[in-house]
Point group: C2
Amino acid sequence: MITLYGTAHSRTHRVLWLLRELGLAFEHIPTDFVTRENRDPAFLAVNPNGRVPALVDGDITLWESLTINLYLSRRYGGEIAARGFVEETLAMQWSMWAAAELDKALFLAATNLRFFAAADRNPDDVALALRKLSRPFAVLDGWLTDRRYILGDRFTVADLNVAAVLSLVRLCGLPVEPYPAMSQWLGGCLDRPAADDYLRLDFKLSRLPPENYIFMFL
Amino acid sequence: MITLYGTAHSRTHRVLWLLRELGLAFEHIPTDFVTRENRDPAFLAVNPNGRVPALVDGDITLWESLTINLYLSRRYGGEIAARGFVEETLAMQWSMWAAAELDKALFLAATNLRFFAAADRNPDDVALALRKLSRPFAVLDGWLTDRRYILGDRFTVADLNVAAVLSLVRLCGLPVEPYPAMSQWLGGCLDRPAADDYLRLDFKLSRLPPENYIFMFL
């Protein structure tokens, strides 16, 4: 029995996508960070970090959305699972790369384009985020220039994890025309029927004052 | 034949530690980001991200320090390797957790305690980083309260990866007394003879002006 904690308007959408690709049955408990359900003792007993998503699958309890997806696809996956040790390693590398190179900069852009109230948005921060993203975007674009998907010729969990992180690109309308291979690949991934939860990624955040602002993005 | 790129005064120290634990022979090319060797075309052909470490092992080329360690220990590791699918998954989860929850906040603290010139350091940013770190520190401390090591009773790549990220705690003298289980575990990990490269983690960085400062930590 698989239980997934977290609302679709959170990083949980990454795992919802994977579960729907695999066609797995699961119980969904939409623990909501907006109402601070993620700080309830009952949820902290599942994930002491107080973050969603979290997953319980029989004896194993997991956090970290991209790890959860690599776990589920290795355990249950058919076509989209990585095949063998080298593909599993590359899927992990690209997942860690997305978390390290994309996640925080995308969040800075997304807060200032969508999740902050209009009066709190700063276009200079969007520009800064895009400047930071220009290097990893070029890397992914180059990688995909002679590959249809990240691991080669089929859609796998590596694509799902990286595209799920990058779903903010479409949600916020970030300009990616300079990266045609990445842009075409991302469109194909996000158009998959199982991916549509990313469109629910909407909530409002308050901007912290300048002296604490960086706290949100660490 | 294993080739490792990157100087010990970079995240490469994480992989040097792992390679020494495993006793593996390797060629070390100390590509140095201080002198911008990481931007040379020859290195960009290995890692288009222009980041160290990077590893070439026969047919496979890898980036992302924590992925490299999980790969090497799964391929070559004896005692410190994760055993079986569940342990491999938990080692990956804790590695991704360290990257997501610790890495950027530790870097903010470390720059303002050590890597910036004295005149550029801001104690308020150290306080901000410590506030951000208080949650993951409490999580790890709680996890280790009834476990000797992250996966149970033996030192594994999960400990190595998390402790390597946390080596900045000792290098910068961050206060961790409120986390006795974490503190004792970290001391034991960093005292291992193979770990001593973390002490070479020294270089100088320039602080960006306030309007761009966040760029360094995305």
